[in-house]
């Protein structure tokens, strides 16, 4: 019987590993390679702090410029961007908090794969939006100096917007032409989710 051969091999493996001893963390490298989600937690915490600072500063800015359409819109956009930073980071932290190593295997693997896929999509979204966000930031910076740059130099703001569109176009073209590591990460995250779905027969866990 073929399976008996496998079992005989497994029994031999079992016999051999019984002679080994678990050793402590003698190699620093072993500790370094683990805790894959730890940098994520730090990064997201920092993102929440920055998002909070941006939301507060931009909120206060647009509130003070309710009568000036240009700074008002710029302030609102930055305010929304700050809130989006907080929400995205908070979601990641919640997903990461549920990803403990002693969770059932399929549940944890699925959480990690979902988290990774979400992180990548979120990174791309912030990348695309980031192409434009420096325009309201310029408006904001001038506004802090007491200058409504939209009213005073509309062509300047228009030029910056045009540059942002060109940046976005270049970003999209490059991301289509070049196979970035990020693209590979998306594929791997999808493959992992597919593997879990195949393993569970597509059913719920």
């Amino acid at each position: 019987m073929e399976l008996d051969e496998l079992k005989a091999g497994w029994a031999e493996l079992d016999r051999r590993v019984a002679m080994l001893e678990v050793t402590g963390a003698r190699h620093g490298a072993a500790a370094a390679v683990r805790a894959e989600l730890r940098p994520l937690r730090w990064g997201q915490s920092v993102q929440i702090v920055f998002g909070l600072m941006l939301a507060i500063a931009a909120g206060s800015f647009w509130f003070d410029h309710r009568d000036a359409p240009g700074p008002l819109v710029a302030g609102l956009l930055l305010h929304a961007y700050g809130i989006a930073m907080i929400v995205a980071a908070a979601r990641n932290l919640v997903l990461a908090a549920n990803a403990t190593e002693d969770a059932p295997v399929l549940a944890l693997q699925q959480r990690v794969a979902v988290l990774r896929a979400w992180r990548i999509r979120e990174g791309r979204w912030f990348g695309v939006v980031g192409c434009f966000m420096w325009v309201p930031m310029i408006v904001w910076a001038f506004g802090l100096l007491g200058v409504d740059i939209v009213a005073a130099r509309p062509w300047f703001v228009g030029l910056n917007l045009l540059t942002a569109v060109v940046c976005l176009g270049a970003y999209l073209v490059v991301s289509r032409l070049v196979r970035t590591p990020e693209g590979g990460a998306v594929r791997r995250a999808r493959e992992r989710l597919d593997e879990i779905a195949r393993f569970t027969g597509g059913g719920a866990l």
């Binding site: 073929e2 005989a8 497994w10 051999r16 002679m19």
Partner: protein, 176 residues
């Protein structure tokens, strides 16, 4: 004092169940050095997570979860499909002392498991370790019925691999 007691208890349980650690490392590591690192990684994670272990439940179930999750993370980091076991499968202990001649049974086992996806390897490990279905369900997070179905499919697949039978042929002739 409580921490010291807990650490001692963890060490004792880990020693008692160390074979689980090494077998998971053997299934997911690429070579001897990688296997050693993975076993240490698993031990580290066990020590770190031991506070969450509920002493009222079997330690083996908890250890299988932690070890398999670390093993799967390791396989993910490696990105490429990990070359399991290999011809040198535990033929040398730490430090390179030979403990046995290369074994054909181990080579056959390595080939069979190497062809499985990482999650299937986890199931194969639990099946070959003769872990009860209820415990496998607890480790993987599946229902017992689902475990039975998956294991039946896994056994078919392993038989096919061992015999080199195509899936269609097997359907025609039935399973052994």
């Amino acid at each position: 004092m409580a921490d010291e007691e807990r650490r001692r208890r963890c060490d004792a349980l880990l020693h008692e169940h160390r074979r689980i650690v090494f077998k998971v490392a053997a299934v997911y590591a690429r070579n001897a050095a990688d296997r050693q690192d993975l076993a240490q990684d698993i031990a580290l994670q066990v020590w770190r997570s031991f506070a969450s272990y509920d002493a009222g439940r079997p330690f083996s179930t908890w250890l299988y979860r932690v070890a398999l999750n670390v093993g799967l993370s390791h396989a993910r980091r490696e990105r490429e499909k990990p070359a399991m076991l290999g011809a040198d499968l535990l033929d040398a202990m730490e430090g390179g002392t030979p403990i046995a001649e290369p074994d054909e049974r181990l080579a056959a086992l390595a080939r069979a498991i190497d062809a499985l996806e990482p999650l299937e390897r986890a199931l194969a490990l639990l099946y070959l370790d003769e872990v009860p279905y209820a415990e496998i369900a607890g480790v993987l997070g599946l229902s017992e019925t689902n475990v039975g179905t998956r294991i039946a499919r896994l056994k078919q697949r392993l038989r096919r691999q061992m015999t080199g039978t195509a899936p269609d042929e097997e359907t025609t002739h039935g399973t052994r």
